[in-house]
Structure formats: structure tokens, C-alpha cells
Symmetry: C2
Subunit: 330 residues, 2 copies
């Protein structure tokens, strides 16, 4: 397998050490168990957001640890859920008296392990489950809809509310509201290769794409022939618009997320398609983001995410954030 | 060719339109001729920085248009120099009375076309040539060393000086100093595919990499067998350290740049290697950046850049910047 690594069994640790060294002003990396915390301690009485999941989706989640977003992230091995001891240690490290909110992507392993951590944790905790992917109900790794790039939006919005002093119940409620307002769908042009497996997770013919792909390369709705960007974009956006709670004329956030191996040039071209389709549907794109925020290693492809906004959520999205992967206002 | 696009001949325009739509608060995209300017007009009497070059290296250069960095960028077709009329129109649009500084990567076509633009332009102009790539002297596209990811550092440092009121001569001199302080080298695990060509630019065996690759996929020093990240990192860093003007104990900026298709996980792992090698050589990494800043479409691989800093350059690097791809302090 052609990757930049030393020992495949030590990939996560070495990568996290690099992350910690590159962002030493911002984060602290802990080992045994593995978790990443903010360098600056959480303000007393501020709800601490903790997320986590398999690695290979960088910058998710450690790249979103910092002021205005996550207090801690718990990375598992590549495409493998973190274990409860990681979340427990993270909770103990960052809870500053107002409890911890676990933000969990809806995959069976993550859900189970975060649940166990919440049971083990003696402080106050609550959980928000993210399930924004409209591609499929039930999949290789989950029951119900999968949690994908919309997770970043939930983390950002709730993170800002925590800074403003929202308590644990309010943070949880807002997280559920942000998740409920968010719908995503993606497609893959190529597979990713899990380092420890050494071979591509799936195989596509030269002219074939996976429509509705999951962020672990798991199957989507169907395999179709490669088509012009406008056609592919319409396929994805139709699926999203079919399920979005956004009202006609209403403000939305449009996120075009790259899966890791797609050039920015193509992502911006896809953004142009997505924005046009939103406008044609009567949605008003008032905020947007283009980039790799929830990846699948080196997979080529992208996803669209649409979040129905209101003034409250717009203000929370705009609030200052300082993390390795998202930064504005400070 | 498996890419997200509509008409290959219209790829650049459609991508730029998406870029303009996604960053409408920050930039304005102009067509015929093609150039990108800041939305907010340059302050009167502030030197206007203009860069440009072939597309396919995004976010370079349009992603660095904004306050504290470039006043305008001129994108050519993929891996093709922009034409003089683009730079001329950009200069006329953004010169606010203090002249324009062209920042040009050292490729024969770019150098020639920027020179022609400078001759045609009736206002004051000066040029900084960037040639940070230590891999090879002379290459497919150039005489002398190539300009690669170090360009971003030059643009950032000089952009901050322009904000502080440095005049054209001072900006030029600083640009030459920043370039002179900067050395880079890269490697590729896979080729890129130019959309209009439709086939990979070069071919590597399954176990082979191109050491010293250029950002258009042009040849580097040699093809070698894939090796552990520590070995590859040492190869690149030795070449850089052999030519860096950084003094032992001196402060440096370390940039680990992804070529577009490499997962962030691997980039951070490579950062860990690079930072260790700098430390072993007696260099003090006081600033760092990890990410895709100068890409080669979907090429897998990365480059290291080391810039010898002084207090002045540290302050300029830290100064506020607000562009699509780099943002802090505002």
C-alpha cells in the first residue's frame, strides 16, 4: 500500500504527535488512552463538547478542538470506534463543572462505546446523535441514517452556544435541532484504502461512481456511470432537498465537503452546481463552506450538506472559532 | 478521465465561478480576461500584490486574495501560464497609487508573460521571482530552480508589509529576502491527470515514488522505491538543509504542504518527521503550517518548506490575514 507512514500499527499515534506538534498552541495530545484536549482549559461552568470516532476522517474531529468548538476529541484507529475509556478520560479531563456533551455520529460502534462511557462517567453528561446522511437507511456500520459532514456544523453551532453559557440541556436541545436541520449526501469516484488492510475498500469500474457513498467507503444508493458534474450534483441535491426541513425562501448553510482526494478546483465547480440548485429550489444560501472537513482518507469524491438556518443559528455559526481546521473571528 | 466537471474546456471558468460564489464577501471574479480581485478595494497608497500561474495548484493563487495578502490573482488554464492581458487588467484594477508587485513562480512561461505585462503596464511595477525548490536546477518548464509552495510564504510576508505601508521598492526587497530564506522539496506517490489530457502525466510503478517532483508532475531528482516516512522525510529535509541559509539555533517556519490527494493523517505524520529533523539539525521551528496550499490537482505526495525567519518576518507572518485559504487575526 502506497502511503506516507512508518509502522502501520503506529500510524495513528505518530500522526497525532505531528498534529500536536504543529498545533502546540491550541491542543494537547494524550496517549493511553488516546484523546486530544484544548490547550487552554475550558472556562469554569462552560459545557464541554466531546466528539470522536474512527480516524481517517481528518480534520474530523481533532481538527475541531479549540475555542468555540470541541473541548476534546477521541480518535479511534482508522475507521474504528474509539473505546469507552478514551471518552471517559476525556470527560474527566475537560469537564469544568457544567457537564459534558457527547456528539456522536450514528454508527453502531460509536453509539455503543459513547453510551458505555456516559454510563461510566460520574459527572453530568448528555448525548447528541448526528445522522445527516440521506443516502441510505441502515448500512454496513449502522442502523438508521449515518452521521457524516453535518457533524461539523452541529459541533460549530453547539460549541458557540456553550461559549455563550448555554447549559447542558440547552446544548443538547440545540444539537438535536441543528442535526434535525441538516441533510447530506455524497458520492465517490474512487475508493479509499485502509492502511492496515492494504487494499482498496471497494472497486469501481473506470466509468463508474458510487452515489450516496458512506465516509468509510460503505455502499450508497447505487452505482451509476460517471456523468457531468451538473447531473451528479442534481442527483445528490434532489435527495437532500427531498428531506430538508428548509422552507422555500429560507436561509441555508451550504457545505461542499471533499472526501480527501478531490482537487479544490473540482470542489468549487461542484459548489457552483450546488448553489444553483439551491437557488432554483427557492433556498437562500446565506453561509457556505468549501473544503475537506470530513474525509475518507484519500477517497476522491465529495458530499453536499444543507442546513436550514434561523437567525439564532446564523449567529452561532458566525461566532468566533479557533481550531486547527476552522478559524475566524479570533 | 474520472473528474467532477462538465465541459473540460469550461472547467476553469466554472470552478472560478464557484469560488466567487462561495467567497462573495471576499473576492470578485472577472472574465475576459480572467482575474480575481479583492472585494474590498485596496487602500489608497498600499502596494498591490499580484500573483498568478497555471491552475491546478489551488488554493494557489486565488485562495490567497484578500486582506493582508494578494490584491489580485491571475489563473491560467490548468498547468498553463496566464497571458499578459490578464496581469495587465489585474494591475489596472487594483493599483491604488503605490504600484503593483508581481510575485512570479520561476517557470519560463510565467516569467515571460509577467515580464510582458510589466512592460505593457504604464504604472509603477516591480517583480519578485520565487524559486524555492531545491530538487533540480532546470526542469521541463524552467531554467533555474522552480517556484513551489514557498510562494505562499513570500505572498504572506510581503502582503503584511504592504498593509504596514512598505513602498514598492521595500516590498520587492522583502520579497527577495523571503524567497532567499526559503527552500522546499517534494515527492509524489502518484501522478496527477491534467483534465484536458485525460491520462496521467507520468507513471510510477506500484512501489515507486518520484523524489523531488515538481508541482506539474515534472521529474525530480530520481525515482526510488517507496520507503518508510522517516526515510523519505530525511531525503527531502537533507536536500533542504543542505541549502537553507537558516543558522543553527535560528528560528524557522516549517510548512508541510499536501499535493492534493494525500490524507491529512499522513501530512501530520510527515510533519512529525520534518519537525524532528529540523530539531536534530539545530533549527528552532517557531511557526508551522500543515495543509494543501500548493497542489498538483489530485497528486498524492507532499513537500517540505523551511524558511529562515527573523523577528521582522515572524511579525509579518503573524499579522492578520483574511483570504479563502489562510485566515487569522481578523
Amino acid at each position: 500500500v502506497k502511503k506516507l507512514l512508518n509502522d502501520v500499527d503506529d500510524l495513528l499515534r505518530q500522526s497525532l504527535d505531528g498534529f500536536g506538534a504543529a498545533h502546540g498552541d491550541l491542543v494537547e495530545v494524550h496517549h493511553e488512552p488516546t484523546f486530544v484536549t484544548r490547550k487552554v482549559a475550558q472556562r469554569a461552568g462552560q459545557v464541554a463538547l466531546i466528539s470522536g470516532g474512527g480516524s481517517g476522517h481528518e480534520p474530523l474531529h481533532a481538527g475541531f478542538v479549540g475555542s468555540g468548538m470541541l473541548a476534546a476529541a477521541c480518535p479511534g484507529e482508522v475507521f474504528t470506534s474509539p473505546t469507552p475509556d478514551q471518552m471517559l478520560a476525556a470527560a474527566q479531563a475537560v469537564d469544568s463543572g457544567a457537564g459534558v456533551l457527547f456528539i456522536v455520529k450514528n454508527y453502531a460502534g460509536d453509539v455503543m462505546n459513547f453510551e458505555m462511557a456516559a454510563e461510566m462517567y460520574t459527572g453530568a453528561s448528555a448525548t447528541v446523535l448526528v445522522n445527516d446522511d440521506v443516502a441510505v437507511e441502515d448500512s454496513s456500520f449502522t442502523t438508521g441514517r449515518r452521521g457524516v459532514a453535518g457533524t461539523v456544523i452541529v459541533e460549530k453551532i453547539v460549541g458557540a452556544a456553550a461559549v455563550r453559557g448555554a447549559d447542558l440541556a440547552a446544548c443538547r436541545k440545540l444539537g438535536e435541532r441543528a442535526n434535525g436541520a441538516t441533510r447530506s449526501m455524497g458520492l465517490a469516484l474512487t475508493s479509499c484504502t485502509v492502511p492496515a488492510a492494504g487494499t482498496p475498500t471497494f472497486t469501481l469500474a473506470e466509468n463508474e461512481i458510487e452515489m450516496g457513498v458512506g465516509i468509510h467507503g460503505e455502499p450508497g444508493r447505487r452505482r451509476i456511470a460517471l456523468a457531468p458534474a451538473a447531473t451528479l450534483a442534481k442527483d445528490m441535491m434532489d435527495a437532500i432537498l427531498n428531506e430538508t426541513p428548509a422552507a422555500k425562501g429560507g436561509p441555508v448553510l451550504l457545505l461542499v465537503n471533499g472526501f480527501g482526494g478531490t482537487p479544490l478546483m473540482e470542489l468549487y465547480l461542484m459548489y457552483a452546481q450546488a448553489a444553483r440548485l439551491c437557488a432554483e429550489h427557492g433556498l437562500k444560501v446565506v453561509r457556505s463552506h468549501v473544503g475537506n472537513v470530513t474525509t475518507s482518507l484519500e477517497m476522491q469524491g465529495c458530499s453536499f450538506t444543507v442546513t436550514a438556518l434561523d437567525d439564532d443559528m446564523i449567529g452561532l455559526w458566525d461566532a468566533p472559532v479557533h481550531t486547527a481546521a476552522l478559524r475566524w473571528g479570533c
